[in-house]
Amino acid sequence: MLSHNPLLPKKGAKVVVAMSGGVDSSASAAWLKTMGYQVIGISLQLHDHASKVENKFGTCCSLTDIGDARRVAEKMDIPFYVKNMETEFNESVIDDFVHEYLNGRTPNPCVRCNEKVKFSRLMEWSMDLGADYLATGHFANVRFNTDSNEYELCKGVDPAKDQSYFLFTMKQKDLGRTLFPMGGFEKKQVRELARELGLAVADKPDSQEICFVQDRSYKDFIEERVPASLLRPGLIVDPQGRTVGEHPGIHHFTIGQRKGVGVQSKDPIYVLEVNQERNEVVVGPESFLFKKSCSIAQMNWVGTPELDKPHGFTAKIRYRAKESPVVVRPVLDNRVEILFTEPQRAITPGQALVLYKEDRLVGGGWIETVA
């Protein structure tokens, strides 16, 4: 039996809210305060604001964003702190981001940040403070299933804004201590709520890109951090292995990419594969992008693994992909093979593949190989 909203915290519970300065997390903090909980607002400082590269970082979690969060906290009379997690962020998110590109993969840093920074370090710090919960502004929901006696991670009710995808690495113990106050709202309701509460960020635009590369290209970002010797030019080849061009470095490419490939052809051609070993990029016609299976690594099951019933799942191969029916087969350790009923366009190693059963996020892993 599922109980709706069984996770409204007990009266007076202490909740740390991660505040980015955006409207979702601001509304979360404000709403929890009006509901009578002891809210503690914290903004993560992930970039070195004192350094000269400040203006190169994006708008998320910049000094102005922290200022926005601080003002919301002041307005709602919430204690507010800035927690410096530059080192953790650099190690777990930025380094991983760069390494993935160097290995011919396309990373998802937002998942890594949730996994390694927010729901691990920040969660531990919040528990050290004596908090009962950590809350974020994500559009997602946590439910408790009294039949299975497990927490469930579910989509946010607004299908256009659902962010459960980015949370697939969460475990039972995390879910028991997490709140997503905005999960039951639609985006426009969140803005209305913010307006009603008089928050200055009610109409602030959403941040769209990766928080640390908003104003410039990720290629420049990578090139600043990696010695040039690791970013060597190489060959662009067709599916038969014939050379059709040269590339300036594999980090320029992602699967399915069409623009900026630099190869003349009468028919549109797309990046099919990025091969780190041979330092090659394989290109070809769009039809070659459609594949029906892939293997994923580091599979995380949010609840008990469901490998005895391999059917009934849908999967997304990237955040913006449409869900598609799949069959799931275990391989070894935490590796799983995914077989799609419908061919999928541009399955990309490095991206997260997330499994759902209707609105419940069952689990997910990282795409390793594509067949």
Binding site: P79, W125, D128, G130
Partner: protein
């Protein structure tokens, strides 16, 4: 409920300070004007100057009012740098100075000065052998060594340093911002230049002083007026100076710090007894009577500080000026702590308003939060 255990950061404005400040509100002339309005203000200013100078037994002529301890330090260093003809300018200092000294030294290094830093030991004490050797071999134009460390409270042996510098005919500047009001001025008054600040002694923020004997010239950093005997042009911060003087008038007998010292020592003993695996940086060195640099092994100071703040207790993780940055305290790393260990250090500093109950409550909260965090670690 708000208990302050961070008096080294600042202190509340005292009644004495407020009283003098009101006089300036009533006598609001510009002390540099020649008319009666100005003269009255000038007389008042002179009385304030005397009040502050008398507290350190120095001539009022040697006193330059500044915007605070940081400016006093900057003035001593940069003013000396410009005044000395021989280049490159040589400065002997330490690695545990307040950030206003450290930052100024870094700036002066970009202008080509030579710097040597005297070592400190694990207790934060100055290595006197190293000092004597460097004094002799380096022959600095200026020695700048603080009186009391703002993070650990450790005292440098200013009387001995002053003697050695006098023998070598070299000027000694000392940052006495934390020491003034807590330690007998005869301790640090042998120095040629002394920085002090009002807001550490229940005076207003934004006002300090540099005592500088005219024997060692300083080039002014502020022009356009002949105020402060031409050493700092610009209309005086009369209201700040008034507050400073009023605070000086109210400086109580130093014996009041005996009570605080007992409370501080009792606090440390209790933490040690009930928590174990807790360390106090510099505890074996001569220290200010009110300061504890506390390290609870395995517990990040950051979490503890926040938990205490949520309980209404104000403490700091070292220096107020350095908070929010990820670089660990340079004071602690100079004393040999690793980055991880430095991150476990909190500064707890009591003040004249501190009561027994305050110390008791804070100790209890530090203990209970630590026990809770340790229990969590064990289950992880």
């Amino acid at each position: 409920m708000m208990i302050c255990a961070d008096y080294n950061a600042t202190t509340p404005l005292g009644a004495g300070a407020q009283k003098e400040m009101e006089k300036v509100i009533a006598n609001w002339g510009n002390p540099s004007s020649t008319h009666t309005l100005g003269r009255k203000a000038s007389e008042l200013l002179a009385s304030f100057r005397n009040a502050v100078a008398s507290k350190v037994s120095r001539s009022p002529d040697d006193l330059v009012f500044t915007s605070g301890g940081a400016e006093s330090n900057t003035m001593a260093l940069i003013g000396s740098f410009w005044a000395v003809k021989e280049k490159p300018f040589r400065l002997l200092t330490s690695g545990v100075e307040h950030s206003s000294v450290k930052g100024t030294v870094c700036f002066l290094e970009t202008l080509g000065i030579q710097v040597q830093r005297v070592r400190v030991n694990a207790m934060g004490e100055l290595d006197m052998e190293d000092f004597t050797a460097k004094l002799k071999s380096f022959r600095p134009h200026l020695v700048s060594l603080m009186t009391a460390n703002n993070e650990t409270g450790v005292l440098f042996p200013i009387p001995a340093l002053a003697r050695l510098c006098a023998e070598a005919a070299l000027p000694l500047h000392t940052d006495s911002v934390q020491a003034f009001g807590k330690v007998d001025p005869t301790f640090w008054n042998g120095a040629d230049m002394v920085s002090i600040s009002a807001h550490k002694i229940h005076g207003p923020k934004g006002c300090g002083a540099l005592f500088a004997s005219k024997k060692w010239p300083l080039v002014s950093l502020h022009y356009g007026g002949s105020q402060e005997t031409k050493r700092r042009g610009g209309t005086e911060n009369a209201i700040g100076i008034a507050g400073f003087a009023g605070a000086c008038n109210e400086l109580s007998e130093l014996s009041c710090w005996d009570r605080i010292r007992k409370l501080r020592d009792g606090f440390e003993a209790r933490l040690r007894k009930e928590l174990g695996d807790v360390y106090f940086q510099g505890e074996k060195a001569p220290r200010l009577p009110n300061t504890s640099s506390v390290r609870i092994a395995g517990v990040s100071a950051d979490a503890l500080l926040t938990a205490l703040d949520l309980d209404g207790v104000a403490v700091s993780a070292g220096s107020a000026c350095a908070s929010g940055s990820i670089t660990p305290s340079h004071v602690l790393t100079e004393m040999g702590l690793s980055t991880a260990e430095a991150r476990e250090c909190m500064r707890i500093s009591w003040g004249r308003p501190t009561t027994d109950a305050d110390v008791d409550t804070v100790a209890g909260l530090v203990i209970s939060h630590t026990q809770r965090i340790r229990a969590r670690r064990r289950t992880m």
